[in-house]
């Protein structure tokens, strides 16, 4: 088989935003392997300057339609941090619940609509409607549940409006929560179906491994998406989120103009697999059982397994959501009015997006007008790792030929669930 390939994927499909793949190899010698991002930069950090602290969430939610709740949460937490606002336990639980809505929606969307077609040899979910109608309906049901949680708690499915500094603009009724709980319980068997479908296809994922550093939030009490400190698989030490710049270490690679991130190695990975590798010990029973179904264990370093970790996490957040609702209902929903007053200061918000750890930092003047912003998105943190994966992957799988290699590389990019439209700041190399 020929060992020469020339791959130029202009705008990888079934990902959020635009990314290109460039590979050139001649007679088994790899000459060029590049992961490029030609997304139109949108300059959010410049745009928020001068805007009111009350509008920051509204603005930065628009960084990404897929992770709008996550960006909103990070922004609100940062604003509260800057303004010295504490929130109640009730608010905390409701936010986690809302945040879980997005994890469910995003993970199911990614695994079900964007990745499943690869595993089933299709170009999109559309033909699956005919070939796998029951599975597609199951996926739709689970996806709708995620959306439903966001709609009832966030006021909308995308770009939530209920989360304000200090609390919620509108609280759900206990009846709503009871209804949510029923829906969550009802989706558990559906998730089982999805897990089994993915498990039955998991052997179609390339057997590729590359050890790397995984970074995610960690918290002593639970498998966290919302609280905690920054942890790494490379060290026992955890880092306070206020020090996130010391973790992401944005740098310019000598061979590239792209800003990459590194912590203990030349790249690190964030996302579902990272969270799993750090927090797997805290999975709730059903999620742990799902992980066993796949044989997924801590220390997994096949990036394609990120999709599997997403399935495990979907079960985890559904389980935890049910717990949270029980806790909320036990105490009863108490009326609360969010109160916060602007002051000069700086704050950091950090939460886990479905695709990995996300950092927001803002500074405000005494009128609460934003003076400075720094946003570090998960996909930005994964770019260097994707590039490193490519560099290891191409020589190893070159012999499979251009078409297969191309598909696998696209799948590899998709495995990271990149959210390129999140691009608050990216630098990238040449265009294809």
């Amino acid at each position: 088989m020929t060992k020469s390939v020339d791959i130029g994927v202009h705008h990888v499909t079934r990902v959020e935003g635009h990314g290109n793949i460039r590979v050139r190899a001649r007679d088994g010698v790899v000459e060029q392997v590049e992961w490029q991002v030609p997304e139109a930069p949108r300059f959010f950090e410049a745009m928020v300057r001068g805007q009111s602290w009350e509008d920051i969430q509204t603005i930065v939610s628009r960084i990404c339609g897929i992770c709008s709740v996550t960006h909103s949460m990070a922004a609100i937490k940062a604003v509260e941090d800057a303004m010295g606002v504490e929130v109640s336990e009730q608010t905390d639980r409701l936010r986690m619940l809302l945040h879980y809505g997005e994890q469910i929606e995003s993970h199911v969307l990614h695994v079900g609509y964007l990745v499943a077609p690869d595993l089933l040899g299709q170009k999109s979910v559309v033909p699956l409607v005919a070939s796998h109608p029951e599975q597609v309906k199951t996926i739709i049901r689970a996806h709708r549940l995620g959306n439903h949680i966001m709609e009832v708690l966030g006021g909308r499915m995308t770009h939530p409006v209920t989360i304000k500094p200090g609390g919620f603009s509108k609280l759900p009724t206990e009846e709503t929560l009871r209804d949510l709980k029923q829906r969550l319980e009802a989706v558990v068997p559906d998730l089982q179906v999805i897990a089994e479908l993915v498990a039955s296809l998991a052997d179609r994922l390339p057997k590729f491994q590359r050890e790397t550093e995984y970074v995610a939030l960690t918290h002593p009490d639970h498998y966290t998406f919302y609280h905690g400190r920054i942890a790494s698989t490379d060290t026992k030490e955890t880092v306070d989120v206020h020090e996130f710049e010391s973790v992401v270490n944005e740098y310019v690679h000598p061979q590239s103009t792209a800003k990459w991130t590194r912590w203990h190695r030349e790249s690190y990975a964030v996302g579902a697999l990272a969270r799993f590798n750090i927090n797997a010990g805290q999975l709730l029973p059903l999620a742990a059982k799902t992980a066993r179904l796949f044989g997924l264990q801590r220390g997994a370093c096949n990036p394609f397994l990120n999709n599997v970790a997403q399935v495990v996490e979907t079960v985890q957040v559904v389980e935890h959501s049910i717990q949270l609702i029980d806790e909320l209902l036990t105490r009863g929903i108490r009326p609360e009015t969010p109160r916060a007053t602007p002051r000069a200061g700086e704050g950091v918000g950090c939460v886990e997006a479905p695709r990995g750890i996300l950092f927001h930092r803002y500074a405000f003047d005494e009128n609460g007008r934003c003076t400075r912003a720094n946003i570090c998105i998960p996909t930005g943190q994964n770019h260097a790792n994707i590039q490193k994966d490519f560099e290891a992957f191409v020589p190893q799988f070159l012999e499979h030929g251009q078409d297969q290699l191309r598909l696998w590389m696209e799948m590899l990019v998709r495995a990271y669930d990149p959210c390129i439209s999140c691009s608050t700041h990216y630098l990238q190399v040449e265009f294809v």
Partner: protein
């Protein structure tokens, strides 16, 4: 009637409006019964050179985007602007308050001069090419999207409200956000959203663009009576309705 071929293209945006199309869930099957998607990068790998309907999501923020959208317009019989970024420029217009050079430097510092970071003041799609149908909102309402698509396929002019959000807020039996002393843009913002934000206890921030013949001057006067400054109003008005344009 043969099914029109539909292609969805995205420019500078969060892709949240495409997500609303995905969020139609089972209704997507209904949608597929009236149109044939031939290109939709976010959801499918197929690409197509021929299509009848082009749906454009996102704003035009670079010269190269402008060329691309013109090329799409030339090939499309019908062009739909999807969502606030496309219909009014949306949140992306916030950057128009600054000089572009300054915006680039703010975010990219020393690397700001790299060619791919080229950016120009954000434009709505309609500021570059002729738009046949507009689906307003950030994000769009999936229900309205379905309705407009059905109108498009059957050759009808859809009913899109020109009146302010207050109409739907009253229909939802909401208490006016002004009573909470908030800067709510409902009285000058185009309805059609079902007043989702005020119904969730939040002010309207104007994502569907201005209502027809909006009384912005009255808004300034009324704000003052509620103890708000023109800057408070301005700050919120420019979120979705343009940076410099509204300043006058």
């Amino acid at each position: 009637m043969s099914k029109p071929k539909v292609a969805i293209f995205d420019f500078a945006c969060c892709e949240g409006c495409q997500l609303q199309v995905v969020n139609l869930e089972e209704e997507i099957l209904d949608l597929l019964s009236v149109v044939q998607p031939v290109e939709w990068r976010e959801a499918m790998s197929e690409k197509s050179d021929t299509f009848d309907v082009a749906i454009i999501e996102g704003s035009i923020t670079r010269r190269e985007d402008e060329e691309r959208v013109r090329a799409i317009r030339e090939r499309a019989k019908v062009l739909v602007a999807l969502g606030a970024c496309a219909t009014v420029g949306g949140i992306n217009k916030l950057k128009n308050r600054f000089a572009m050079e300054e915006v680039r430097r703010c975010v990219y510092d020393a690397a700001a001069d790299m060619p791919h970071l080229d950016t120009y003041p954000t434009k709505a799609v309609g500021e570059v090419v002729k738009v046949d149908y507009q689906v307003h909102g950030c994000p769009i309402s999936k229900k309205e999207f379905g309705y407009i698509l059905r109108c498009l396929v059957t050759g009808k002019e859809p009913f899109v409200p020109t009146y302010p959000v207050c109409v739907e807020c009253k229909m939802q039996e909401n208490v006016c956000r002004y009573e909470f002393n908030e800067v709510c843009l409902g009285p000058v913002t185009r309805a059609g959203c079902g007043a989702k934000c005020p119904s969730a206890g939040f002010w309207c921030f104007g994502c569907r663009g201005l209502a027809e013949d909006p009384n912005v001057q009255a808004a300034r006067e009324v704000m003052a009576e509620y103890g708000k400054t023109p800057e408070d109003l301005q700050g919120r008005l420019q979120l979705f309705n343009g940076g410099k344009e509204q300043a006058s």
